[in-house]
Symmetry: C2
């Protein structure tokens, strides 16, 4: 059996209707409210076929049909293909979001948290934003200072002016000159290097230069290593988890608990981020429908992720989590314009 034009039309009509109402769609509804001009009986036959093909299913015998994951998939793919052509979308959607993004907050952390929140409020879905990840952190600047006797402050500035710091306990007392000297040494030896480039050779050379202070250099290197190591964890901001209560199909105890649990245990979301960064889809946008999701506890939802790239190799992910019947079109649009704008705003800097 083939999926001819008419079947496709009917399928799309079913999906569109279901997206709107959230109720199973019956043959009579379609017959009346579409321009197909077919009787309900004919549509019933077609629907039986569509069900056999796996695009739709019945919650129970005497109910209408709802789209299956496979059905949604077809719909989304088709939609994405169309969008592709339509060069520039309607930018209005994110207009007010833009406004607040403009007045960039200092702390990236706060900005992203805010972004997640705004996005959740605008879409009525749950959202997730990861901090941009510098795939290759490079040391830009190192500063060692004595805070108080026995305490050494190590500040490391890395690409993108991210500042990390550690306080070390040191046994020996360092004179001002030694400190100055160590500072210079570290900067000349390490600046511009990434974690992989700081190899044994560099380390040995540095320790040699340090002479009697080699122990300290060791500690400092540890601190530097920690600072430039890309931490895979936790830098995920979420918002709007309670939005899932807007959708009855996600609101029962069991499902709500699972979902909200996933938002609480952010480590579960890392899979999602990972996968989303790897599989480059249409303009970095990826749609996971139901059980396609990499996060098991979200198998009753759909997830749309977008990758934004501040500069070469500096990527983050934005995700929107909603019911399978989410408004894919709108969500994809929002994410597209949003990522473009994020890029632009940061590139201006």
């Amino acid at each position: 059996m083939e999926l001819d034009g008419r079947k496709l039309k009917i399928l799309k009509a079913i999906i569109r209707n279901y997206l709107e109402t959230g109720e199973p769609v019956g043959s009579r509804t379609l017959s009346k409210y579409t321009d197909l001009n077919l009787s309900s009986a004919t549509i019933r036959n077609e629907m039986a076929d569509l069900e056999e093909l796996g695009y739709i299913l019945q919650p129970h015998t005497s109910a209408g049909r709802i789209p299956s994951d496979k059905g949604y998939r077809l719909y989304v793919d088709d939609m994405m293909r169309e969008k592709e052509q339509e060069v520039s979308g309607k930018e209005k959607e994110v207009e007010n979001m833009k406004e607040f993004l403009i007045e960039r907050v200092d702390k990236v952390e706060l900005l992203l948290q805010q972004l997640a929140k705004q996005l959740a409020e605008n879409t009525n879905y749950a959202t997730m934003v990861t901090a941009p990840k510098y795939s290759t952190n490079k040391v830009k600047f190192i500063q060692l200072s004595r805070v108080e006797p026995g305490k050494l402050l190590v500040v490391v500035v890395i690409d993108g002016n991210i500042v990390r710091n550690t306080i070390l306990d040191v046994e020996e007392e360092l004179s001002d000159e030694t400190l100055l000297h160590l500072n210079m040494m570290c900067n000349t030896s390490l600046n511009g290097l990434s974690i992989n480039e700081i190899n044994l050779g560099v380390i040995a050379k540095l320790k040699e230069q340090a002479g009697i202070h080699r122990a300290i250099v060791g500690s400092v290197l540890d601190a530097v290593a920690e600072a430039i190591t890309v931490d895979n964890d936790l830098e995920i901001y979420t918002s709007g988890a309670t939005n899932i209560f807007r959708y009855p199909e996600l609101s029962d105890q069991e499902k709500a608990r699972n979902l909200i649990g996933a938002f609480e245990h952010k480590e579960l979301l890392t899979n999602l981020v990972q996968e989303s960064l790897e599989g480059e889809g249409n303009q970095g946008i990826q749609v996971y429908i139901g059980s396609e999701t990499p996060v098991q506890t979200m198998k009753d939802c759909s997830v749309v992720t977008a990758t934004y790239e501040l500069e070469e190799g500096v990527k983050g992910t934005i995700g929107i989590i909603g019911p399978k019947r989410m408004d894919y079109e709108r969500v994809v649009n929002i994410l597209k314009t949003l990522t473009t704008q994020l890029d632009n705003i940061y590139k201006k800097t």
Copy 2:
């Protein structure tokens, strides 16, 4: 009417039973399963009195009784009074928690997040932990460095070795000597001062010393001010929000949504923290029952908060949020031992 000994006994029995089962308690149950040796009829009479006094109430005519907020209050106060005497509690409860606290993580942030998580897992309630708040932050050390041309890194170390940093854009190019000079100036003028002590006099003197670089000093002072300003916001870590689904009386859509919303919008929790820090109760432990809570959306819960104090004036709050029928005794015990241990661990440092 008075609350005589027997009434009190019955009230306590009702509460204890209800804490266990979560079901309204009937007269027959009490008659059978307590050592009061009274018939159900007598107990019924007493219960009628207790209801009139406002300590218990009936969900509906033909149900047993459940404690009212006033009833719980009596119970908790009484319990706290008893605990007072019992000098040292059973410390075992937090034994495994201690274990992980011992291997202190560097980042306070992580530690507190972990603490919240562990606590939630151990108690099966929702938890909340705030970062210790230094009521009077003092500047301990300032370091200005040139990261790259036009960018000045300001690092401020404050009490408790908390490190804050800002990157400033500067117009003029600074020589190494100037930078060194500025560094010394800032440190000698500002070290040891709190936000209130950095007054116009200090500022004027500093600017005068700076001469042509007064503009920069202005920016630096702003950065310092930001660093030592106690930020009232957001430093709240939560965990175990999904635990509320364990308690049917909190699990319906409406309530669950409200509660989880409160955990998401952490700004709502600041009231709680505020109040808890101010009203010093029994060993810094405070119990809010039902509508006593400062956070409106939690009026169907009870909240137990504890204040911990790392050193003079450095305080944080731990909160446990559960159903009104939470195991107050256990929770209070855990919080007591936990705060003591937190103090000890940090004091060792």
